[in-house]
């Protein structure tokens, strides 16, 4: 592609101003400036507006924090890093267009995105075509590292099967095998429920459930049904606001005394936005800040809190790991070219100050999924610290929860040379 000379300087300044403005808008104190030779550019596409904006914002903050940290330590391969953030507005057309813009016009070396799995897929088609490394920090549907896996796409957050597998055993052990599902009627909900059902059946359980529209806010009819079924556990698979509404109504109707409440993800951002009595239930956290036995985590959380004024959530960690993974891959491959970086990232083990949890955390070669631990535990109203809303009961290793590469359906094609 052409690389303009004169307008390029103006453009770089524009991009600097853009990043600065964007940083101010996102309440981040960092301004990223390019020094010396051409910087390494990372393009991040996330839904900064729309219903997923809270989660997207955390991911971007985590990435920015990491970029500042990396730049202080001499950048990647001796060059400073610049993070270009674009808003996909929760719309596929926009997400694809911004991806093309970042690659064609801004010449980024790596792409991150999107929280919305549908957009992540569409972006992957572009990044594969352009041979650019693509890391999906927080889009959950299975096929991204399953049936639709690609040589240049890596994912940090869990698959729905991982989340389901991790918590089923715990819930059955503590409460029983008769479950009722409340699931949103789209790809994420379907794969999540299927994952739960598979694991539940293996333990001899029985279930009933309702599939509801994604944006349901009124759960009384379904909760009436649930109460009649008298399950041991109610699985709240809804996401975002629907999940919160379901929890609130569950508690309001006094159903807490009749059955236990559980599910896959109930993220820190969401827990903090519900009233006290809805801060309950058994969930998976894809990363949790309160790990007193891991010194790297204690240090990370303290530094992050001092710099950003807030406690890091799993989403912050996703953004952080994404940037650090790029650095590690580049250092191993000695280049920013997509195919080489992808090969370097396969089976790459994250060092403790990036993994920020016990165990060997690596990107599995067969499907490019990060085998991180799943923190299974219980939500509760804040104790002391307003972010102390989750008590970790057990850690499930990622590759144990994920099953085999075959079961994911991924047939990985080799990266081109």
């Amino acid at each position: 592609m052409e690389y303009r000379k004169q307008p390029a300087v103006g453009r770089r300044t524009l991009i600097k101003a853009t990043t600065a403005l964007g940083a101010i808008q996102l309440a981040s104190p960092f301004v990223i400036s390019a020094r010396g030779e051409a910087p390494i550019k990372i393009g991040m596409v996330d839904p900064l507006t729309g219903i997923l904006s809270a989660l997207a914002q955390s991911e971007v903050e985590g990435a920015k924090y990491a970029v500042a940290e990396v730049n202080k330590k001499n950048g990647i391969l001796g060059r400073q890093v610049e993070l270009l953030v674009e808003d996909s507005a929760n719309d596929v057309g926009t997400g694809v267009q911004k991806t093309r813009k970042l690659i064609d016009r801004d010449q980024v070396d790596v792409i991150f995105g999107d929280v919305n799995s549908g957009i992540a897929y569409a972006m992957a088609a572009v990044t594969t075509e352009k041979k650019v490394l693509h890391i999906v920090p927080g889009g959950h549907t299975d096929p991204i590292t399953g049936a639709d896996c690609k040589w240049n796409v890596f994912r940090i957050c869990n698959t729905t099967s991982m989340d389901a597998a991790a918590i089923t055993g715990e819930l059955v052990k503590r409460f029983g095998k008769k479950w009722f599902f409340i699931t949103p009627d789209y790809a994420y909900g379907h794969t999540l429920q299927d994952g739960f059902i598979k694991n539940l059946k293996a333990l001899g359980g029985e279930f009933e459930g309702d599939m509801l529209p994604i944006n349901t806010s009124e759960f009384s009819a379904t909760l009436i049904k649930a109460k009649g079924y008298k399950p041991n556990v109610l699985l709240n698979n809804m996401g975002g606001l629907a999940q919160i509404d379901c929890m609130k109504q569950f508690v309001q109707f006094g159903m807490v005394k009749d059955m236990a409440l559980g599910g896959a993800l109930f993220e820190l951002e969401s827990i903090k936005s519900v009233p006290k009595d809805a801060q309950t239930g058994w969930w998976d956290m894809e990363w949790w800040w309160d790990q007193p036995n891991v010194p790297e985590v204690v240090k990370f959380v303290a530094d992050f809190r001092k710099e950003m004024g807030k406690t890091p959530s799993a989403r912050h960690w996703f953004g952080y790991v994404a940037v650090q993974s790029v650095r590690l891959a580049a250092e191993k491959a000695k280049t920013m070219a997509g195919p080489q970086m992808s090969r370097a990232l396969e089976d790459l083990v994250l060092p403790p100050d990036v993994a920020l949890q016990p165990g060997e955390i690596r990107y599995r070669k067969g499907d490019h999924e990060l085998m991180a631990n799943i923190f299974v535990g219980q939500a509760h109203p804040p104790e002391g610290n307003p972010d102390n809303v989750f008590k970790v009961e057990s850690l499930v290793a990622g590759d144990k929860a994920a099953g085999t590469v075959e079961s994911s359906g991924c047939k990985m094609v080799e990266a081109p040379v």
Binding site: L21, Q25, K101, G118, Y121, A122, D185
Partner: protein, 318 residues
């Protein structure tokens, strides 16, 4: 009248020269080819919409429905039927245009605000079906797993799949044909009748013109062309998603048309160009881009209701 005639040809020449040379000058001003593709596709959608709004005087606020249906038609064809781009476009037009024509039959007697409301509602029905029918349309995550197929012209294969420049010219050719057809239509007696209906419906009715039939035809033709734009959009993104049917896109199509000038033939294209570029630029600069877009809507309505070309027209006439 030869002075006006020459000016028209000159104007056409300028427009087509600019459009043809896009891959050369666009990167120099900080643009990228996919942006130009988006301008063309949405410009076509806006021009198609304008057949209804600017030339017939009928206000539909749910036109994104036909756009999105065109996209899904094309995508489903490529995914399930055959890897043929022309077939995909045809099916897209049939789906969007056909459903539009059927729907038009239901509402052709309504006017004004009620008509607009019902078109919005129809759009949301289509949106709802698209994001709920998971097995067929891919649901909330959208329809994926298809891509543009290379064009087999018999004597040669044009690779529009991997070559963005070739794809841009393909878009331009389809755009040219569509726009040419629209121009012919609007210059014909049928088109003149539409203008008459726009200007004074009651008088047109007294002249014996079958109003409802003309409005229905105008609506259906507009839907067909909008669906064509939609199928091109699916080819541009290799993706079709429910947001392509949402009323917010309908609103954007309307503002593009009005901003460019709804009484001018090329107005909507200009409006689309300005809007798409502004949106692209502003959304990279700030996370509060929605406020700016809303502000554009408000400013255009309050201060530039005739649109850019409308203002030029007035200046030339005065």
């Amino acid at each position: 009248m030869s002075g006006g005639f020459d000016r028209r040809w000159l104007r056409l020449l300028v427009i087509w020269a600019v459009l043809l040379a896009v891959p050369f000058w666009l990167p120099l001003v900080g643009g990228y080819t996919a942006l130009a593709g988006r301008v063309l596709v949405l410009g076509l959608a806006a021009m198609s919409f304008n057949i209804l709004l600017g030339f017939t005087g009928v206000m539909s606020f749910g036109h994104a429905a036909y756009f999105g249906l065109g996209a899904y038609g094309a995508g489903l064809t490529l995914k399930f039927l055959a890897a043929s781009t022309p077939l995909a476009m045809l099916m897209g037009v049939l789906l969007g245009g056909g459903l539009g024509a059927l729907f038009g039959l239901l509402i052709v007697r309504r006017r004004g605000v009620y008509f607009a409301m019902v078109t919005v509602a129809f759009g949301q029905v289509a949106f709802y079906v698209a994001y709920s029918w998971n097995d067929f349309t891919g649901g909330y995550d959208g329809l994926r797993g298809f891509s543009r197929a290379p064009l087999n012209l018999g004597f040669t294969m044009i690779d529009i799949t991997n070559n963005s420049t070739a794809f841009y010219y393909f878009l331009l050719v389809v755009f040219a044909v569509a726009v040419g057809l629209q121009a012919l239509l609007l210059a014909s007696p049928f088109g003149r009748t539409l203008l008459a209906i726009r200007e004074n419906e009651r008088r047109a009715r007294f002249l014996g013109i079958p109003i409802e039939r003309h409005i229905w035809l105008s609506f259906s033709i507009s839907c067909c062309f909008t669906a064509l734009a939609g199928s091109l959009y699916a080819l541009l993104n290799n993706f079709a998603d429910p947001m392509g049917l949402h009323y917010s896109l309908s609103g954007e199509i309307v503002i593009m048309t009005v901003m460019g000038g709804m009484r001018a033939f090329w107005g909507p294209l200009l409006g689309a160009a300005v809007f798409v570029v502004l949106q692209d630029y502003i959304s990279s600069m700030t996370v509060n881009w929605m406020s700016f877009i809303g502000l554009i809507f408000v400013l255009v309505v309050l201060f530039f209701p005739r649109g850019l070309l409308g203002m030029l027209q007035r200046r030339n006439a005065a």
